[in-house]
Symmetry: C2
Subunit: 525 residues, 2 copies
């Protein structure tokens, strides 16, 4: 991600720079300029990437203007820019508006309801919100790097982190999906996280979680903290990977946590607005950029390893080629073997992410008394690295564990996870199910066993989980005369016969036929 060599092609670059210069002439703070910003934030991050690659000043200052001006309530003739455009420029009724605005003046749809620095919660279209914050994080990173110093970089970083925390703690599904509301493809109120359409929502757009990954990748460069990498990994293995079928031919936009008769667990061949399929391909094509950050010079070179897989990174430290290779069976097992080459005399520090679910438990081999975990990264000192060009890390905590969403979501459910993988149940394994597992209950104290499987059609290895479940008996409801009363005399949940229940990784759903019944969170018995 740090290399943009193709930008050195002048024939390609010139028209882009002319275009940027034109846009900067039209939009800006001057009296004859439009005090506007884009409806769908995206150009900001592209402009900052252009600046980073070429040093184009127009690109930087235009992006900065868009970020700073956004949400100014009196920006254009004393009005919000988009209100001014609608009323003054297009002469439209303020009550004429697109389908994704629930009401007139839903400025929060595009995060332009107030200046970004003042926003306390993630609102509106979730992809736009992520792309906007990615650009804001880029601007902070450029300030940290002294490339373009901001007076208020700390304030910008504070706003981004505040919105990150709101998103993760109050507006994110256990699968890393965000956005409960289909109408505006975006965030609902805090803790409004229904599992599916028949509960009132669950959009969890693929592109939105791609946006989270992009944002996490930026945040890791300005504040190395495993919480960003943890969420990046959660999104990758769950809400993002579930969006493509194993044969690579079918996709999802929406990644619900429970199917219903109206919205079965299926993928589609194509979409009218086909943003998610190519976005997914782009992520897979640039995955290497999410694995690690590296750099520095002799004396303080570093590799910060965020994700574990099979990969090698080779980079230049003051003219010396350094390579770090990692080999693992991640995400199924926690052992990762590292091999370093070319790092003699480089003074390299290696930082290895210890995910939150590992609860600080790991084994380093050869061991090191000096190695400590700092902000979720195990720091291998220059001395350790120099002495051990081959070493291995075993991350613990791959036992299946039960997760629960926040109680204020009103989701009284248990979800199985193992390492970074979130599990679901499907009728493909549990053919007896007829109601989308809506009345299937599980218990936290049931034994869970693992089975190493291979999904034959794709040669895809995975770990299935087995446990037991019970049906919530609805007799008291089914025997009720229709139309008599809205509730019933309260009763204890009655559970039917014990049944075996097989769980598979959420990302593998809808690859093996079946009726399209699927659920991530099951009722607590």
């Amino acid at each position: 991600l740090a290399h943009y060599k193709y930008y050195n092609n002048k024939d390609l670059l010139e028209p882009i720079e002319k275009y940027v210069s034109l846009i900067r002439k039209v939009f800006g703070p001057g009296p004859d300029q439009r005090h506007g910003y884009p409806g769908h934030p995206e150009i900001e991050l592209a402009l900052l990437r252009l600046y980073r690659a070429t040093g184009n000043q127009d690109a930087y200052h235009l992006a900065k203007y868009f970020l700073e001006e956004r949400g100014n309530p009196t920006g254009q003739e004393g009005m919000y820019y988009f209100d001014w455009e609608m009323i003054k420029l297009r002469g439209e009724s303020p009550y004429k508006r697109p389908d994704h605005y629930p009401r007139s003046f839903s400025r929060w749809y595009g995060q332009s309801h107030q200046p970004i620095l003042e926003q306390e919660t993630c609102e509106g279209h979730s992809v736009r919100c992520m792309y906007l914050l990615v650009a804001a994080a880029d601007m902070v990173a450029l300030s940290h790097e002294n490339s373009q110093k901001l007076d208020n970089a700390a304030q910008w970083q504070g706003a981004i982190v505040r919105l990150w925390d709101n998103m993760v703690d109050k507006k994110m599904y256990l699968t890393g999906g965000i956005g409960a509301m289909a109408q505006w493809e975006g965030f609902g109120i805090d803790y409004f996280l229904p599992a599916g359409t028949d509960e009132g929502g669950c959009y969890a757009e693929t592109c939105a979680s791609v946006g989270i990954m992009m944002l996490a990748e930026r945040l890791l460069t300005i504040d190395l903290d495993s919480r960003y990498a943890d969420i990046m990994e959660l999104c990758l293995y769950n809400n993002v990977m579930t969006a493509m079928s194993l044969n690579g031919r079918a996709f999802t936009y929406v990644n619900q946590l429970a199917s219903s008769e109206k919205d079965k667990s299926l993928r589609s061949d194509w979409f009218e607005v086909s943003c998610c399929p190519p976005n997914l391909i782009r992520v897979f094509g640039t995955l290497g950029g999410y694995l690690w950050h590296f750099g520095g010079s002799k004396g303080d070179a570093y590799v910060n390893v965020h994700l574990y897989t099979n990969a090698t990174v080779t980079f230049d430290v003051d003219g010396k080629k350094v390579s770090l290779e990692q080999k693992s069976n991640w995400p199924w097992d926690g052992q990762v073997a590292f091999r370093l080459s070319g790092a003699q005399d480089v003074d390299l520090t290696i930082r290895l992410r210890i995910p939150a679910w590992a609860k600080n438990k790991y084994t380093l081999s050869p061991p090191s008394q000096a190695a400590v975990i700092k902000n979720g990264y195990l720091v291998l000192s220059q001395d350790y690295v120099a002495a051990n060009p081959a070493f291995s890390l075993t991350v613990h905590g791959f036992e299946p564990r039960y997760l629960s969403p926040h109680p204020h979501t009103n989701q009284n459910t248990l979800t199985l996870a193992r390492g970074p993988i979130v599990y679901c149940v499907e009728d493909a394994d549990n053919a007896w199910e007829t109601n989308h597992f809506k009345n299937i209950m599980i218990r936290k104290d049931s034994q869970v066993s693992e089975e190493r499987c291979i999904l034959e059609s794709a040669g895809e290895p995975y770990v299935a989980l087995q446990s037991v479940c019970w049906e919530r008996l609805m007799d008291q409801w089914h025997s009720k005369t229709a139309g008599v009363e809205p509730g019933v005399d309260s009763f204890a949940n009655a559970t039917g016969t014990e049944r075996k229940l097989t769980f598979i990784p959420y990302y593998l759903r809808a690859n093996r036929g079946g009726k399209g019944h699927m659920r991530v969170g099951l009722q607590r018995a």
Copy 2:
């Protein structure tokens, strides 16, 4: 309700009849007529009342046309009437629409998405839906009475009952409120019944429950079944009565089941669209009409008693004045003393509602072997009535009971009720509460004690309930580092110290000051 003597005033009637005649000229099936119907159903029930009072044929046929034509997908030039009005008549963009349409062409907002006879679920604006069904029920009643015979009366009755059942079983709050969605003041999807604003909705408009009472009153004339009267009573004592303060000076439109910081438990002095306050006054002014139905002639006269209170009805049976008086301390106690006069030689049958929560338990004094419950009404035969001009009924089941909403609402809650009264908790009695009772848990097996109280400012007697509660400890959530993961490792609900909890009738809420914290359904511990 059966008397409309003021319609005999010709000076008043003539302009009304002229107006109806004009409307009937404009709207109808003819080639030069508009094939339309009102956006807010209401004139239909007024027209049928006019017909019932005066026999005006225009009124009947216009109402019938409006009911039958509504929702015709090809009614006007091959279009839905309102689509035609918008596009052809007003030349508006189909994407220009009012704030209460979530998307373009949300025809269900006004129940015109399909013909009424084909509708399977209650949709859209809940008051409109109720007023529409009231008119449909009036049309069926007129057919039953052979006043205006319908070929398909059974089909109409079937549609009304189907929608009633959908409403009560899947779209009604425990308080008799309907309509979860503020945006369109109406119904959400089945089982979408959040308790308050911070859970995603709860409109439960006062007028909508008034509409349910009106519909129940009609249905009791065409199909005497206690389920309609039970819901009528539930609405009256809870969602309707809660809408006015005890001093008669403050009102609510929205009757949420749980307060939040955004929407505290309060009433307002007035509203911009002030439909609810006068509607409430109208209900109180015509309350006598909901208590009982009576009529017939010598040999088969009847009084069907739906609601119990202190009241006397006097009516004419073939020139003879018959009076039935009831005296009770309802809704606090189940004993009702009846005294009949003038019924000698009339052959009167009296039917007394036994509410569903009484579970068929009652005491009749003097007793009768012959008295049986039919469709929820205890039938006192002509012989019994003739022999006992004074008798009393004691309805059992006034012990406090716990109610639960349907599990698919995701409301894992317990609500206390006693007789027809649904209870809530308020900070006025439980001043320790600071978070709208969101984390307060109760248990079904806790003892509940009663206290007879008087609300001093209004001299209003009521029964308070006392039990115990526990706080759901949120330590695992509060101690979580921000922004790390969307869920936590699942844990059993930890409960804090046991505390006393006082419950008061929901309709009495917000009469005694306090912070405006209130909740009807409390989490199950």
